[in-house]
Symmetry: C2
Subunit: 448 residues, 2 copies
């Protein structure tokens, strides 16, 4: 199975756990059979691998998510990086071109496209496989998955099939309706449109040529910023006279709000939380190192992270977006390809962060124009390279770097440092990357 997972959005609706650099699909909220926490993207990837160990998985995403994906799924996952946001048609076209030109997938082979964040069971991926198998042989150019509705949702578009067979011709598509209209659709046998579809690779490559003028990966990538923002629905689906829909009746949840997300949790809390006996239907997701004490709460979600604290009635939590838009979005925690960092303190002309590097990883070799930095190693061992000179470091070592100094650190074990940044208007944009000095590159042939 060739599968493109669309991984988008910054997910403000799950503030304070999601932010500009961490989308909801990367939050570790679910437990594996072994009791480990995993994120939506880890869960989906694990489920695909279970159903089809040979699946060719490509994640179509933006540059900002690449580190988190590598960190959570390892280095071997296929990633097709969109140079900028250009809606779903260019994203699918680029990923299709990547599959053909980089991964060597044939134009006759079927490709399945699906969002990276549905909350599903393995039967869903069995259904994706059947969807691809149908696309390979169907007379239709597109085969959609139609999810059997469990309530008259206003959140989804609807697909009305021509009949009640497992695979039907699509009679008509309907935009997100009111609840009342949704009831009517469902009475007519309508299915939810979960944004899941399959096609033969050559079909989308042909559409790419027609709509963008570019038919290969290199040129699509290069011209990507010039492409029009067109949705796949608007650019392709609406012009296709014959589309099939395949029914799916298994569990499918879109965990886009705290309300739906907490329903999928297998316990009342993640992180430190205490509930008194008068709490009912309360969920706590606490990323801080201190306890949350809940007393007398009903139907509520409490979420605490280095970015802020949400205390909300579950139904009200779906109206979070405009409030979060107003917040000053300093990123207080981020996963990187090499580990993670957390902001500990923000002063007037200083910032203190805790940096954790995973064993065998290293930072980019870089410098800052407007700030000095001080590292104090608090756990582990590694090597710093400062202005071309490599030096071993261990717990208690202090490294000072004046503005302009080129630096990086290699973690030989897991390595933790307290980094104090000193300067006016400290910004993530004050960062210049440099080539490593050659001898160091030879000595340390490590992934970036």
């Amino acid at each position: 199975m060739n599968i493109i997972l669309l991984s988008g959005g910054s997910g403000q609706r799950l503030w304070p756990l999601s932010n500009d650099v961490r989308s909801k699909q990367f939050i570790r909220l679910f437990r594996t059979g072994e009791g480990e926490l995993e994120s939506m993207v880890q869960r989906v990837y694990r489920q695909i691998r279970t159903v089809d160990p040979e699946a060719e998985v490509t994640i179509a995403t933006s540059r900002s998510q690449v580190s988190a994906i590598h960190n959570q799924l390892g280095k071997n996952v296929g990633i097709c990086v969109e140079p900028c946001r250009r809606d779903t048609f260019p994203a699918v076209a680029l990923a299709a071109a990547y599959l053909r030109d980089v991964r060597g997938v044939g134009e006759d082979e079927p490709v399945v496209v699906c969002p990276v964040d549905p909350y599903v069971e393995p039967d869903y991926f069995q259904a994706l496989k059947r969807l691809g198998e149908r696309a390979a042989v169907s007379e239709a150019n597109l085969v959609l998955m139609g999810i059997e509705p469990v309530y008259p949702s206003e959140k989804y578009g609807y697909i009305i099939p021509a009949d009640k067979k497992n695979i039907s011709k699509v009679s008509v598509f309907k935009e997100k309706p009111t609840e009342e209209v949704a009831r009517e659709y469902i009475a007519q046998g309508a299915l939810w449109n979960g944004g899941v579809f399959a096609f033969r690779l050559g079909y989308v490559m042909e559409k790419a040529r027609q709509l963008t003028g570019f038919g290969d990966y290199e040129r699509l990538l290069e011209a990507y910023h010039t492409l029009d923002k067109i949705s796949f629905d608007y650019g392709v689906v609406e012009h296709e006279p014959y589309i099939e829909v395949m029914r799916f009746s298994g569990m499918w949840k879109d965990l886009g709000t705290w309300n739906t997300l907490t329903e999928a949790m297998d316990g009342p809390c993640i992180g430190k939380a205490v509930f008194n006996e008068t709490c009912e239907n309360v969920h706590v997701i606490n990323e801080l190192d201190v306890p949350v004490l809940c007393m007398g709460l009903k139907d509520m979600v409490v979420s605490a992270s280095p970015e802020g604290i949400l205390v909300s009635d579950k139904v009200q939590s779906s109206y979070i977006k405009p409030f979060v838009n107003e917040f000053d979005h300093k990123v207080m925690y981020a996963e990187k390809s090499w580990g993670s960092f957390r902001v500990l303190d923000v002063g007037k002309d200083s910032m203190t962060i805790k940096v954790t590097l995973n064993p065998g990883h290293r930072m980019n070799y870089h410098s800052h124009q407007y700030r000095d930095e001080v590292w104090t190693v608090v756990s582990g061992k590694g090597r710093t390279v400062i202005d071309g000179t490599e030096k071993k470091v261990e717990v208690g070592d202090v490294v000072t770097m004046a503005a302009g100094s080129r630096h990086m650190v290699i973690a030989d074990t897991e390595l933790q440092m307290i980094e104090v940044q000193l300067g006016k208007e400290i910004s993530v944009y004050d960062k210049q990357k440099h080539e490593m000095p050659i001898y160091t590159r030879v000595l340390n042939d490590l992934p970036i």
Copy 2:
């Protein structure tokens, strides 16, 4: 007016703002007329000064509160430090002896004793003044304040006066009743016992001699740890045949729980908080630097500090104590005489704190046996003394101190440093104080 303010307790009922080293009376929750935040102790002290600028105020407290009192009230306030906890009779006796032997108050002069944390208006202190004036001339050895009840509370003891005059003989004292019994008391004209009383100084000194065998400050202080734990009620009040009560009908609130405390706040929040339009009767006290977003909450209190987060129905919040007892009480924030510190990060064998010294203040000269420390100055200017050597420091300076090294810092302006502590089993008890080298003491004649 001679007034003894009893400042006790660690106030777990206001967790997470109060803790082992910060009692509720030091939390800055109220606004002065100028819009500044002030604590209960600051409010009471300011009110006394307004009513009687000449008042001789002595705060009877434990060693652990001395820094916070100096920090909040300045150096000139009289403090009588109890060497250990010994209930209210020894505390009052020691403070009375302090007034006579250290402050030179005459034995005929009246003294008023009152808890440090009632939430009152200036008329209360006018009443205290009258209470003292009455004690100076009364035939009774004790004159109590009787507060006119506003509801049948189960939280207070009751005083039943012999008649309805402004000053009456006490007929009988009643322990904390049930609500029903409280109604009966009130129907009989009972008054709340707020623990406020006045006496002539010589009377309590005589009681001290009788009950402890010691009649002066030096010897009481020395023998304090050997004294029996006796309450003032049990040791004195119950044996006194003729006690007067003076009515007080002004505003008087005991802000011992979140429920009562939030009633006294003049707005819905202190710190960063956002409420959506469906919130009703919600109070947020947020000491963190990130926002609290409240949606769809009713009758609730949310409090966040470096120690933890409370989310509670207001009525339920009064049952907090047993839950807080279970928490691991690492002190994450503390006010000191020289400023404050906040724990930023706790690692396996490290701890990172932010230290703020007030201008003109300094730490004790000290060393640690089992940990190294690294200071990075992030704002201000000062001087360090490390193993006897004084050195100027400013922003960006890094000072490393191996275990055993004697060190301190003097703040010439407000001075902030990130301190990284490195060692196994880091503990506040690993601290040895030392005499400053003589030449340094001469150079820096600064308060400790």
